[in-house]
């Protein structure tokens, strides 16, 4: 119940933020004094399937906002948020992106989870010449002016991970993924790495969304006996599959390695999640003073938030990177800001990161293992920063 109260407080603060923005509506940018607050549009899924991440993403963004304002804002300007819910529906995402830009006249937009949503929002921000930061790990290849990405691309999740697996787990792989672009692109990278090092892929399958029963897949895995089950299923499909994999007792013989499971999914798995090895750019259990400070500060502000994972951390980083870029550029002006973002360095909870010239962030590659039924991970190895490799195709 305490959960609801904080949410209500949150809603109040959102109301306040938009109320303030309405007052400035219609004033040409030139007339705005330097002390006018900087405005950031925060676009997250607060309803629908992706609300599972959206809520924590919003909280992470708000924590970043608090940090920035506590330190005196952006070059003396207070940082204001305008928060919008995209309802996990790109149709709504487009509408909200337009609102943020055309009505609220935000300087920069940060947020959204799925690639579909990024495509939707990006189509608006690029057309309206407003900078947009996307915080989620994805398939790579999205190259549009003014869209910057603080989430990992496949090479960052996989490049260090696969060799480690082959050394420590085994050389025979079975790949299963949700039937869309991220698993397919990621599996290409995995396959190349495995085959280069003399391993083999025993099977590769893709499944439609919301598949209720994975037992056929589990049986095929059981009969081919790979050392590694590389799962690229995502969201609820990932949880359903891994539960059933566990229930069939296959974890004894085959290790699950994945780039699609982090703390949130592991929490839904309970005991079925124990032993899963995942590669992300951030885990909550990173043992550095910087991460401790982040986790403790965040928990103080949102006591009911149990788990942060790489997507919300990407959001947090996105807000900070955007703030640094705004400070560097002096305003939300498109040409200045697009030039300001590349090269920005930031000391993130995951470690140091920077924005590369290809509009993507150089992020950390970390391998960790889920060790309890609460969805917590133990760091196995932190490889440090991996620069993003991006072939533009979207």
């Amino acid at each position: 119940m305490a959960n609801t109260i904080t949410r209500r407080e949150l809603l109040k603060s959102v109301g306040y933020a938009t109320g303030a923005s309405v007052a400035t509506l219609g004033h040409p940018a030139v007339l705005r004094a330097a002390a006018q607050p900087a405005k950031m549009g925060i676009l997250v899924s607060l309803t629908g399937v992706h609300a599972i991440f959206g809520e924590t993403m919003l909280h992470c963004a708000q924590y970043a906002q608090k940090e920035i304002n506590d330190r005196g804002g952006i070059e003396g300007r207070k940082l204001d948020f305008v928060i919008e819910d995209d309802e996990t529906d790109p149709k709504v995402g487009i509408e909200k992106a337009r609102k943020l830009i055309k009505r609220d006249q935000v300087d920069v937009v940060v947020g959204s989870i799925s690639s579909a949503m990024r495509n939707a929002v990006g189509s608006v921000t690029t057309k309206e010449k407003r900078v947009y930061l996307y915080p989620t790990y994805y398939e790579g290849g999205y190259c549009h002016d003014g869209v910057f990405i603080t989430g990992a691309v496949p090479n960052q999740q996989v490049e260090r991970f696969v060799p480690w697996i082959m050394e420590n787990v085994g050389k025979t792989f079975y790949i299963a993924g949700s039937d869309y672009i991220w698993p397919r692109e990621t599996s290409k990278v995995v396959r190349a790495l495995v085959e280069k090092r003399g391993g083999s892929i025993l099977g590769e399958e893709y499944f439609p969304w919301n598949t209720p029963d994975f037992s056929s897949l589990v049986n095929r895995v059981a009969s081919t006996k790979p050392a590694v089950m590389y799962s690229l299923l995502i969201g609820s499909d990932s949880v359903t599959f891994l539960k059933q994999f566990h229930n069939f007792g296959l974890k004894k013989t085959t290790r699950i390695c994945t780039s699609g499971v982090a703390e949130k999914e592991a929490a839904g798995l309970g005991e079925a999640g124990i032993g899963i090895v995942s590669s992300q750019s951030y885990f909550m259990s990173i043992d550095t003073p910087r991460n401790k400070e982040f986790v403790e500060g965040f928990r103080r502000m949102f006591p009911n938030e149990k788990l942060v994972d790489s997507i919300p951390e990407g959001m947090y980083n996105g807000v900070h990177v955007a703030a640094l870029a705004l400070a560097k550029a002096g305003s939300g002006d498109w040409s200045k800001l697009t030039k300001a973002v590349p090269g920005i360095r930031y000391k993130a909870p995951q470690g140091d990161i920077w924005m590369a010239d290809n509009r993507h962030a150089a992020l950390n590659s970390i391998i960790a293992e889920a060790y309890n039924e609460k969805g917590e991970f133990r760091i196995i190895k932190n490889f440090g920063v991996t620069p993003p490799q991006v072939n533009c195709f979207q």
Binding site: D85, E95, N119, I181, P208
Partner: protein, 334 residues
Amino acid sequence: MRSQPARLLFAAGVLVALALPPVAGKYYTELLSQALIFGIFAMSLDLLWGYAGVLNFGHAAYFGLGGYLVALLAREVQGFDQSYLGYALAVLLPVVLAGALGYFLFYSHVTGVYFTIITLVVTMIFQLIVSDWYWLGGMNGLLGVPGFALHGPSGLGWEFDSEAQVYYVLLVVSAICYLLCRYIVRSPFGLVMAATKDNQERTEFFGYDTAYLTTIMFMISAGLAGLSGALYAHFSGFVSPPLFGLNFSTDVIVWVAVGGRGTLVGAFVGAVLVNLLKAIISDFLAVLWLLIVGLFFIVTVFFFPDGIVGTLRRTPWRAPRPLPRAASMREGGV
């Protein structure tokens, strides 16, 4: 015949609609443009639900089909103006699909709730196919649909760029669609449809092939929905699987129910009002919005069955014409 106050109200509405863009600002103009597209979509549902008494619970299928066709043409066909071809196909394909479904369902005397849940499954399947089929963009949808444009025969052409231009174009298109629908429902065909809705058996005993006529109405409705989907694709520049979604299908039912079914204008009133309200409320009540929507569904059913326009029409300035509330056999269909 319309009475004086109703005429005045209508004229005032037209004036307000014309004068809005400069007052409303860019964002609200765009929101209204979108509401107009949704209004056409809602009106197409009203044709079938309000005038033929058949509820399509998967109406988004036809909207999505129109939108995806335009997006696919934009991606696949280069070098010549796809917009006319796009609109034509976006109307035609839904019409064909509706014709086929009508043939399989209405001719087997499947109406009422049975029809309703089959349509619901149809739209779910469409969503599944576009989500999972790679060539159709999958979950990521299709990007890069061009904006509204009008091309003459000799290289003459206009692109509609600004929010106000787009709004006026859509206002004209909506007006044309509205007049078309009004013509249909007031024609003898509309009367026979109303009769079928009221009492299907009696209508058959006058020698009407009600399955055939209902299929025609379904096809008109689907074509109009396809058109609105095509307009939406041009308007937003992007299509994705939720266009086929169950949520969108139920949204449009809410718009029609709120505006008043069987009124045509009500579809626009509902679409504009709900979308505006949602834009305003969800600003500060994001999480509670859905809860409100859910409760609203229930409240509407209980206390507000005629919708806004339907209720207004029963006010003293119009001739009283209350209808018996019991659902007809056709709607019951059980």
